[in-house]
Symmetry: C2
Subunit: 222 residues, 2 copies
DNA sequence: ACCCTAACGCGAAATCGCTCGCGTTAGTGT
DNA sequence: ACACTAACGCGAGCGATTTCGCGTTAGGGT
């Protein structure tokens, strides 16, 4: 997302270029935290950052471009736990995601990115790639659990991690309510129970008749 | 969201007004299905619908306004099941949501509404109200299950229904992947298992040590 | 220390989205 | 059938966003 038009023969990532970049992204961060995506305009960013309007347009093309770059900046913000125990890891991760999104700035960033993805096809790609990467990495957590024999071996790691994230994004984007500690606890408990029940096994979900029964069943048509 | 400015002394919902409304909303629907929210502009809608640009601006103010009205139009699109059995109801509902969002038009509509909510505070309110209503109504489904003694009596109905919806919106808005039958089955299984495990009980989630054990436990700090 | 040119600052110009005023059409009540 | 006015069509006009051309500044290589 970085270069809007083809860079000429040579690229200069250092010195002044890096400074203006930092100034602009910091300005976007501030504006986003204060007024949200709705209050985000190129002109305000230019004023706050002290970087000329035309320069920002040249490098990022649009507010969507800026927001995307900010997203990629925050890629390592939530570290993945490794406690040697899957249910514990799930709970730790859910809590980290929860506290991460309890604060307004990151919540606003997600709103902004998803909002951007709706209008800008490039933003959509950036968003999709970002979360695919993240899911793939987080899946490692489940793979360790499989190796330890804590869950069925055909459990889909990315499906489990999607289930960990989904409630938070639902709360932020759809229900538009606060992200709190309860949501994190609830999510961790739910995902672990569902995983044990075989909901995330590959080749179709396994409906359970009684709690704790893990078995495969053919799909029914409604 | 309907009247952008105060209607004068008298309102005329019939005849021509209703026709233009239908024509415009149909045009929005088409444009949305084809090119998505990104390709949605007031001018294109005006051209396709045959309604003058100024008229559309007068009644809806913006594309966000149009999209919101389209959302409210689709309020009864997913009927709530009542099979007399909660896990069956959850599965039926998940399937209905799944097939509802498998088709592009409705998927695009959700993308558009969420995208709009990021920029327009009024759209945000419409979105929140819409889903709160929907959650409240769908909660009835869980309440019946409580009465039948299928789940713990302090289960939070709206938390359960949020869990049914969340995976679909995550798939649409974040993962940006296809909504298919597998997702519906997986979701139904997961939510039922989590509900039995007490993940959605009020007053804090109940971590489970073994599958099927339903018990309350005090929250731990990380 | 020097040159080369990528990246930036600046103001003007073009473009675009949106609004406004006025005349016309067609519901609605009597 | 008639009068009244809400809602629409139309085009001009306004403001905000976006781009362009040119001169200036400051990395990066020799």
């Amino acid at each position: 997302m970085t270069p809007a038009h083809q860079p000429p023969g040579e690229i200069r990532p250092g010195g002044r270029t890096a400074r203006t970049r930092a100034a602009v992204l910091a300005a976007v961060q501030h504006e986003l935290s204060e007024g949200g995506f709705a209050a985000l305009s190129m002109e305000r960013i230019a004023q706050r950052s002290g970087i000329h309007l035309a320069t920002i347009y040249r490098r990022w093309r649009s507010v969507e471009g800026l927001v995307c770059e900010l997203l990629m900046e925050a890629s390592t913000a939530i570290p993945l736990p490794d406690s040697g125990n899957l249910p514990e890891d799930l709970r730790l991760l859910a809590r980290r995601i929860g506290s991460f999104y309890t604060a307004a700035p990151m919540r606003r960033l997600v709103e902004a990115v998803v909002s951007s993805a709706g209008r800008n096809s490039r933003a959509e790609t950036v968003l999709a790639d970002f979360f695919h990467d993240r899911l793939r990495m987080a899946g490692e957590l489940v793979r360790r659990g499989i190796e330890r024999g804590e869950v069925p071996p055909d459990t889909d790691p990315e499906a489990v991690m999607s289930a960990v994230g989904a409630p938070f994004y639902y709360r932020i984007l759809i229900a538009r309510g606060p992200v709190d500690a309860d949501l994190a606890e609830s999510t961790a408990t739910a995902v672990w129970a569902a995983t044990l029940a075989g909901a995330y096994r590959t080749g179709g979900a396994a409906p359970v008749a009684d709690p704790g029964v893990v078995r495969q069943r053919t799909e029914r048509t409604e």
